[in-house]
Symmetry: C2
Subunit: 542 residues, 2 copies
């Protein structure tokens, strides 16, 4: 017997409808590519997203056709989020940090029909537009009078001219909530990039979860700065949750340097910000060097890669900003866990509390998780046993777009490629990537643990630990280090720094100083590239 | 094109699974019918709810068969919430405050197969069990040794004996999330009671919404006392949201007096409580008379009927407890709006803030609302225009069980029977029930406004305004008043108290002192009964 409740599908269009009706005056502030600050509200964004929908209709785009963006965080990008998905098309957020060849490959693979880009990316589009075989329309996200005359891109229109001639009236179509709403390609350390294809249902359920007090805790009283890019897994779902709650949104545009971010936080009274560690590193450096203070910022969510303990301490202890460690993946929409404390932790001494904060956090209802050993046997949640982390839930992928990479699921669970422990309170801690863990004499050494110790040394700006072939131990760790400008440290000094901080056999065999550690399109260290750079390296002990 | 996300149905069983895995130690504290305090946790509740599921399987209950409860708030009731719905049956929470004849009628109409009751209700069951034609099994919610030998109820088992012999292992079935999960009858001021039939989907979506910071804001760090009964629209969804978040639950059992509730709040460190105004009235009286203070209580959600302004003031100003006004209905699972402030209100002077707090609140994403005039035309959100309030959304009913009362929807919207205004910020305020509004000389007078003024008089314990036929004005309001013990006020004094507080023509024509105002099963004033009592009354002006 079915319940007798209204059969209302969970559609992204209902988010912007709700925001317009209930939070029409809710502010959206953007630092634009042009450099100025632009102010609008949900009412206007709603109207303009309906213009986008009408413009796509006029282009005769079909249901589920892909509309790509190559854009920073800003109000026009937000209008595309709702106008594209709301009208039944699929929003494909391209990552401008990728190599142009990769962008071409991905746009082709996704069969993008339209590409909307920020003017900062005009040179890229000029270089690649002829090779994008499926794209029929290029739209520059700018005013009509800002469009150069001779771009060489046929039919190029400005966004404002494109939507300006459309009506702001539009009846959002109703359809199955399992329909595709948006897509995002993973950088793919091996093989070609693969895309997660989100649905309206998964997006709305994820948005509800993000709003919960144990996740990001978003209300109409919040002012959120998503530094995490809208081209990177939907800015962790923040644009959707903001519309769901009427929270004020502040977009940084392309200005991701420490000063620009700090100034925006202060001028717009941001109380909550979200981003990857590298961005916060830059902001902390700016704040520390200028002896500044945050007057409104209360919470930051930090994810994308493990947050160095020193950063959590600085935010918490020096600046009174709560750091919430988070863990997620493109394949998880992206949120899997958040490190919000339980009641029992609130009275712990600072040091013990920090041990909890360093973990990636607790599962959110909607994502179940487990750790398994090499034989697929589930491991206990004792905070010690570590194994491959698997997840499942309504906002976890079942497979990649076009079936690339085959069927990723193992008995219905998605293998994350992370190695983790889970403690009795359900707090998960990543100990390593499955492929980065160093297997030394039958034991596993976490490359992240080795890096975190190095990162605590005052002369170390960045550190990457990789395993090197060893005749006796199979693999032994070495650490590649970028020194902070104006500081110095020797190999012997850094190795001595490990004494007493970890088991002797987990201390790296060597230190290699490098100018830079290769970073991928999303700011993560690319250890495969680092290994290529060190192809001729020989272990001193080998 | 469909998204490629995991097809995981939203089922109630996943809530208790999640609570067990991620919050196994999360506490559930109950004051029992026996009078003692019982302590358990989510792990045990999960295990015992699986025993319930096995016990129902052994009784050969089919999918969607109804299992009724007649019980206070407590851990066994919670186990039934998950065991009954989780195993695919429909939990039917009967209201013990109804007349036994009504209980029989409702149990028959629902075709209940099993009835689980608290021992306080044994006399009711003894009186009615022979007339409940569909119920095959009666279960007393008590230990085996607490069951009297000669109850006269054939086959009566104690709950503990019933589930004690079952395994705590059980594989929750997977099925369509639109399947019925639970049901609740509305008191039905006219005609027979009608039932809302909730689905697993509607319950989970509602639970997500309840957890949001702009609704109840529930986290793992909360300790919640749902005074609102679990037999009354699922205790406003709190049991589900608590499992979703791992919040500590404190159940008051049958002891709803001011002292018992206050003591439980203090001893269990409750920070959040939810209930109807009459319960809080009793608790406030206890606290005021004993000159007590709350040491942990921070927030209360008050709903079920309009909260008198004096109560909001007392909680906020005297006791530092934030009062969140809420509005909902059995047909809405039940939440529709909550009065959480927006940023713009935070800096308002106390008096202006109170004006906002007195409204029933803002819409929650998932419930859309509108007000319409007599011709069905949508009215503006200006805080002045009032009309019939209509709602829609995935946790609003589409029709009643067995199609009773025909098709209630109007163009897909559910008419609430309330008359309301909505202001430009989306704050809805009930001005009256459609049937209680007094139509005087072509103008509408809100019976609630008239009552609130009387309630502010120090000698008034309770007040009910009803319309009386008038030869010239069609209807004129009178106010029926229950005096506080040991106080006095005359008709003339009370009428003079209205001067300057409302328009002259909205002042009632007369005051009638009564010993009590008839209350329904859920504690709401029954004005139809009051009208019957005053059938011989004549207006002085008529």
């Amino acid at each position: 017997m079915f319940g007798l409740m209204q059969n209302q599908q969970l559609l992204i269009s209902s988010l912007i409808d709700f925001a317009e009706r209930h939070h029409g005056e809710g502010e959206i502030v953007s630092r634009r590519v042009e450099g100025d600050i632009h102010r609008t509200n949900y009412k206007n964004v709603a109207q303009r997203s309906r213009r986008v929908a009408n413009a796509l209709d006029q282009m005769k785009l079909n249901f589920s056709d892909r509309v790509a963006t190559l854009a920073w965080n800003g109000y026009r990008h937000l209008e595309l989020y709702f106008g594209v998905s709301g009208s039944g098309r699929v929003l494909h957020t391209l990552n401008p940090r990728l190599h142009p060849d990769q962008i071409v490959w991905i746009a082709d693979h996704a069969e993008d029909q339209v590409l909307c880009f920020d003017m900062s990316f005009l040179p890229i589009i000029q270089a690649i537009h002829k090779r994008c075989s499926t794209i029929k329309h290029f739209i520059a996200l700018c005013d009509a009078d800002k469009l150069p005359e001779d771009t060489g891109i046929p039919g190029l229109q400005s966004y404002e001219a494109w939507i300006g001639k459309q009506s702001d009236q539009y009846a959002w179509p109703e359809f199955d909530e399992n329909s595709a709403s948006s897509m995002c390609y993973t950088s793919g350390t091996t093989g070609n990039p693969k895309a997660a294809l989100y649905s309206h249902r998964s997006t709305i359920l994820h948005a509800y979860a993000v709003a919960m007090p144990d996740v990001m805790g978003v209300s109409a009283r919040d002012c959120i700065l998503p530094v995490v890019p809208m081209f990177h897994v939907n800015a962790w779902g923040i644009p959707y949750t903001a519309a769901m709650t009427g929270a004020k949104l502040v977009f940084p545009g392309p200005a991701m340097d420490g000063k620009s971010i700090f100034d925006l936080i202060e001028s717009e009274k941001v109380n909550f910000a979200a981003g990857v560690p590298t961005v916060w590193q830059m902001m902390l450096a700016h704040v520390q060097s200028g002896n500044l203070k945050f007057s409104t910022l209360k919470r930051t969510v930090i994810g994308g890669s493990a947050c160095p303990p020193a950063m959590i301490t600085a935010f918490n202890d020096v600046y009174g900003v709560e750091v919430l460690h988070a863990w997620g993946m493109t394949e998880l929409s992206p949120l899997g866990t958040l490190c919000t404390l339980k009641n029992k932790h609130l009275e712990l001494p600072a040091e013990e509390k920090m041990k909890v904060r360093l973990k990636q956090g607790r599962g959110i209802y909607g994502v179940d998780m487990k750790i398994i050993d090499g034989d697929g046997k589930e491991l206990p949640w004792d905070g010690k046993a570590y194994g491959d982390l698997l997840v499942k839930g309504p906002w976890v992928i079942s497979q990649y777009f076009k079936g690339e990479g085959g069927s990723p699921l193992v008995d219905g669970w998605f293998p994350t490629g992370d190695v983790a422990t889970i403690d009795p309170d359900g707090f998960m801690q990543i100990t390593d990537r499955s492929k980065d863990v160093i297997k030394s004499g039958g034991e596993w050494i976490s490359s992240i643990d080795v890096e975190n110790i190095a990162m605590a040394h005052p002369a170390v700006a960045m550190a990457a630990c990789i395993g090197m072939k060893h005749p006796k131990w199979d693999e032994r760790p070495i650490i590649a280090v970028v020194k902070k400008p104006g500081t110095d440290v020797s190999v012997a000094e850094l190795l001595a720094f490990y004494e007493g901080k970890t088991a002797k056999w987990q201390i790296p065999d060597d230190v290699v100083f490098v100018d830079a550690i290769p970073l991928g399109g999303t700011g993560k260290m690319q250890k495969s590239k680092l290994r290529e750079l060190l192809v001729d390296y020989k272990l001193p002990s080998a």
